[in-house]
Amino acid sequence: MNDNILEMRHITKTFPGVRALNDVSFAVRRGEIHCLVGENGAGKSTLMKVLSGLYPHNEFEGEIVLNGKKVEFNGIHDSEEAGVGIIYQELALVPEMTVYENLMLGHEIRRGMTIDVHEMIRKAEDLLKRVRLSINPTAKIKDLGIGKKQLVVIAKALSRNVSLLILDEPTATLNEDDCENLLDIIRMLKMQGVTSIMISHKLKEVLSIAETITVLRDGQTICTLDRRMDDVNEQVLIRHMVGRSIENIYPPRISKPEETISIEVKNWNAYDPKLGRKVLNNVNFYVRKGEVVGLAGLVGSGRTELARSLFGNPDKYEISGDLILKGEKRRFSHPSQAIKAGLAYATEDRKANGLILIKSIQENISLANLQEVSKNGLINEELDKQTALSFVESLSIKTPGIHQLVMNLSGGNQQKVSVAKWLFVGPDVLIFDEPTRGIDVGAKYEIYNIINDLVAKGMSILMISSELPEILGMSDRIYVVANGTITGELDAKSATQEAIMRLATQY
C-alpha cells in the first residue's frame, strides 16, 4: 500500500495555441523530497500552478487528489488552506517591512482592536528557528541577503501549517553556501514531516537531495525515477530531459584568439556616491580579438558593477582609469556612446533590465540599433520585420511569430532575443552577463554554440558567470573578481574550480 500525499491524474492544460500539459500524471509519496526536472517550457511551473490553484479547477482537465481526497482549488487561498505552500522564484516579500511583519502578513495576531506585536515577534522567532535562521525578527527585509530572504519565505510558508511544500527553483539566485544551507533546511523539514516538491535546473543539487525525480518534456511525463531502485546520474537525467544525450555540455571551439587586443582596462576605479563606497578598486584586464574571457567571482564581488561602469556608466559612478577600446582611449558617459564605439552589454537580469517584456520580439530585436532599419527617423517596417525574421530563424527562437510579446516566451528564448538584439548591433566587444542563467540544458548548448560562432567571426567576449563549470568550459582565459578587484588571472586549460574559489574568496 503506497501512501501518496498527492496524486495529479491526467492533467491537460491548454493556452491559446499551445498545449502546455498533455495528460500528465504525477504522484508524490508522503514525506519524500520529490524533484521535478525538465527543460524550460517543459511544463513544470505550469503543473505547479495547476496544483496551487493559480489556474482554477475549471481551467484544466484532470483531477487532483490530496491526502486521498479529490480537491478543487479556485485560488492560492484554497490550496494554502489545504496545506499546500508554494514558493516562487520571485520572492513575495515586502522589502520595507520587518521580518516578523512579513512572516505574519495576512495572519496578524490581534489583541482586542490592536496588533499584538510581542506575540507576533515570539511566533516569528519560533518560525525562524524552524529554518535555522538566526536573525532579529525586527530587521527589515531589504537589509537581508538573498539567501536569508529565501529562508524567510520558507518560514512564512511554514507558518501556514503546510504539509506539502512546493519550491520553484529556490536556489536559482543563491550562491553555493546559501544553496547548501537551503538544501539542508529542506532535508530537516522532511524530518519534521513536510513533503517537498522542488523544481530545479541544477542537476547536481537534484541528485544530492531527491528521493524521487520526475522528468517532464514538452508537457508530458517522461519518467519517474526512484532513487532506491534506479541508478540515476546526470547523463541519464539530461538524456531524459532533452530526449538525446549531450556528449559535451560545452561544444568544442576550433577558432583561436588573435594577437590584437580589442579592449584593455587599466587602473580602473569606481566610487558609488549613492552607497558612499568604492565598488571597483584598481582593476586591470584585457581581452583579445576572438577570445572568450571568463569573469568569475561571487555574487556581489563587483563583476556587474565593472561591466556597467565600462558600458556608459548608467549608475553615475565616479570613475578613474583608462579604457582602451580598439587601440583608442575612451570614456563613455552614456550606453549609447559605448554601443556606437563597438561595446555591448547583455545584462544579467533579462526581465528587469534586458528586455521590454510587454513589447514584441520584433521591437526588442531592433531596439538598440533602430538607425539600421530607419531613414531620417522613419522606421522601414519591412526591413525591421525582415531583420527579426532572420534572427528568429538563425537563432531558432521558438515562437508563433515575430509579433509575439517577449513575456510569453520561455527563458531560453527570451535570452536568444536578447542575444539577437546585440548581434544586430554587431559590436566588437560583448560583455555577456550570466548568459545561461535560468535556462535549460538544451538552450544553454545553443547559447554556447552562438558564443563560439561569434568569436570565430572575430568578436571579443567577456563572459560573467557564477557557474564555475561554465567558466572553465567556455573561456580561453579567466579573471577572478573579489571585493571589487581582480584577484587573479588563470589559464582555462590548467584552472580548476578549487583554484577559482580560492581567488574568489580572497580578500
Binding site: 558600458f311 556608459g312 548608467p314 552614456h334 550606453p335 549609447s336 559605448a338 554601443i339 556606437k340 552589454y345 545584462t347 528587469a352 533590465n353 534586458g354 528586455l355 521590454i356 517584456l357 510587454i358 513589447k359 521591437e363 531592433s366 531596439l367 538598440a368 533602430l370 538607425q371 530607419s374 527617423g377 522613419l378 522606421i379 517596417e381 519591412e382 520585420k385 525574421l389 511569430g401 509579433h403 538584439k421
Partner: protein
C-alpha cells in the same frame, strides 16, 4: 460568422471603445429624439472635443513614459491669455502671436521636465507646482483687465470658423459643403488603399490575415462610418478649423508613435526604462521631448479654447488636465507604462465629450453629470483591466 466572433473576441479591447462610443451616441440620439446626431450638434461636439483631444494626445505620451502632467490645464489657460494680450495690447498680428505662444508652451514643457528628468522628482509634484504657478500667472495677467475680449476675426476663426467651400454650387446638392464631401471621399479612398496594401504585405510575409470576406466587410464598415461622418458634417458648415487642427495633430502623433524611431523609443522607455537606457536610448532626452510636446499641445489647446470663446478669462483651463487624463485612460492608456495609443485617446476624448454634450442637450443636472462621467471612467478602466487579464 464564427471567424467574425473570434476576431471580435481577439480585438475586444480595440473595438470595445468604438462600440462604447457608438452605444453612447445611439442612446443620446434616441433620448434627444434625434437632436444629438444632427449636423449642427455633431459639429458642435467635435469643436468642443478639439481642445481636450489635443491635450489628451500629449497626455497619452506622458502617461506612456510613466509620468503625469497636472500643469497643462492652467498652462493652456495662461497661454491663451498671453495670446489675447499679444493681439489686443501689444497689437501683434496673428502668425507671430501663435508662434510665440507655441514656443512658450514648449519652454514650459521643458521647465516641467527639468526636475523630473534631471533630479528624479516625481512628475506629480513637479507638475503640481506648475499647476499652482500657471494658475497664479493666469490670474496675474488678467488682473487688470478681467476677461479680455479678442476682436481679431482671423484668430477667432480658429475656434469658430469653417473651411471655405471652394466647390460651392447652387444647383448641385445645395446646402451641402462640397469641399468637405470631397475631402471625406479622399479619406475613404486613402483608408481603403492603405488597408489593402497592408494586407498584401502581411500575406507576403505569411502573417495571419482575416479571410477576404471578412476583410471586405471591414473595409465597407470603415467606409460607411467615414462616409456617414462626412455627410453629417457637410450638412452643416463643413469641416471646422478646429476639426482640421485636431485631425492633423492626431494623424501626426499617430504616425510618430507607430512609424518613427522616436515613437519606438518613447514606448520602450515606458515599457522598461532601465532596459531602454541599457539599449542606448537616452531616457532623459525622451522625457524632455515628451514633456515639451505636452507643453506645445497645451499651448495649442489654449489657442483653440481662447479662440472658441473669443476671449481670455481668469478661469480658462480649469480642470482641463483632468479631462485630458480621463480621456487618455478611457482610451486605454496604462499607468504601468508603455501601453496606449493616440487613436485610442482620441476615441476616449470623444466618449468623454459625447457624454458631456449629450447630457447638456438633455438638460441633465450638472451634479449628476459629474457622477455619470466618473462612473463611465471607472467602467472604462475596469473593462480595460479585465480584457488585459484575459489576454495574459
Amino acid at each position: 460568422m464564427s471567424e467574425f466572433m473570434t476576431v471580435v473576441k481577439k480585438n475586444v479591447r480595440e473595438y470595445g471603445m468604438y462600440i462604447a462610443l457608438a452605444a453612447i451616441m445611439a442612446v443620446f440620439t434616441i433620448l434627444s429624439k434625434g437632436i444629438f446626431i444632427s449636423s449642427r450638434n455633431i459639429a458642435n461636439l467635435l469643436n468642443q472635443t478639439g481642445y481636450i483631444a489635443v491635450l489628451a494626445v500629449g497626455m497619452t505620451l506622458v502617461i506612456v513614459i510613466r509620468h503625469i502632467d497636472l500643469s497643462v490645464g492652467f498652462l493652456s489657460g495662461f497661454l491663451g491669455a498671453i495670446a489675447a494680450i499679444a493681439l489686443t495690447q501689444w497689437n501683434w498680428s496673428l502668425l507671430p502671436t501663435i508662434l510665440f505662444v507655441l514656443a512658450l508652451g514648449v519652454i514650459a514643457g521643458l521647465f516641467t521636465a527639468l526636475p523630473v528628468a534631471s533630479l528624479g522628482i516625481p512628475a506629480f509634484v513637479a507638475s503640481l507646482a506648475g499647476w499652482l504657478i500657471y494658475r497664479g500667472a493666469l490670474m496675474l495677467v488678467t488682473a487688470g483687465t478681467g476677461t479680455i475680449i479678442i476682436p481679431n476675426e482671423a484668430f477667432n476663426a480658429i475656434g469658430n470658423g469653417y473651411i471655405p467651400d471652394i466647390l460651392a454650387s447652387e444647383t448641385f446638392l445645395p446646402g451641402v459643403h462640397k469641399t468637405t464631401l470631397l475631402l471625406g471621399a479622399i479619406a475613404i479612398v486613402f483608408a481603403i488603399f492603405s488597408q489593402i496594401a497592408d494586407r498584401k504585405r502581411k500575406i507576403q510575409y505569411k502573417f495571419e490575415v482575416s479571410s477576404s470576406g471578412l476583410f471586405a466587410a471591414q473595409l465597407i464598415f470603415v467606409s460607411v462610418i467615414l462616409g456617414f461622418i462626412t455627410w453629417i458634417l457637410a450638412g452643416y458648415n463643413g469641416l471646422s478649423w478646429t476639426i482640421v487642427i485636431m485631425l492633423a495633430v492626431v494623424l501626426v502623433y499617430d504616425f510618430i508613435t507607430r512609424r518613427t524611431v522616436l515613437g519606438r523609443h518613447i514606448y520602450a522607455v515606458g515599457g522598461n526604462p532601465e532596459a531602454a537606457e541599457l539599449s542606448g536610448i537616452r531616457v532623459k532626452k525622451i522625457t524632455f521631448v515628451v514633456f515639451a510636446s505636452m507643453g506645445f499641445l497645451a499651448a495649442l489647446s489654449g489657442i483653440l479654447f481662447t479662440a472658441r470663446l473669443k476671449s481670455a478669462t481668469p478661469q480658462a483651463g480649469t480642470l482641463f488636465e483632468m479631462d485630458a487624463i480621463a480621456s487618455a485612460y478611457i482610451g486605454g492608456v496604462s499607468a504601468a507604462g508603455g501601453v496606449g495609443s493616440i487613436s485610442g485617446s482620441l476615441i476616449g476624448a470623444l466618449v468623454y465629450m459625447s457624454l458631456m454634450n449629450g447630457m447638456n442637450l438633455l438638460g441633465t443636472d450638472i451634479s449628476l453629470q459629474y457622477i455619470i462621467r466618473g462612473l463611465v471612467l471607472l467602467l472604462a478602466v475596469i473593462f480595460d483591466v479585465m480584457t488585459r487579464k484575459q489576454k495574459a
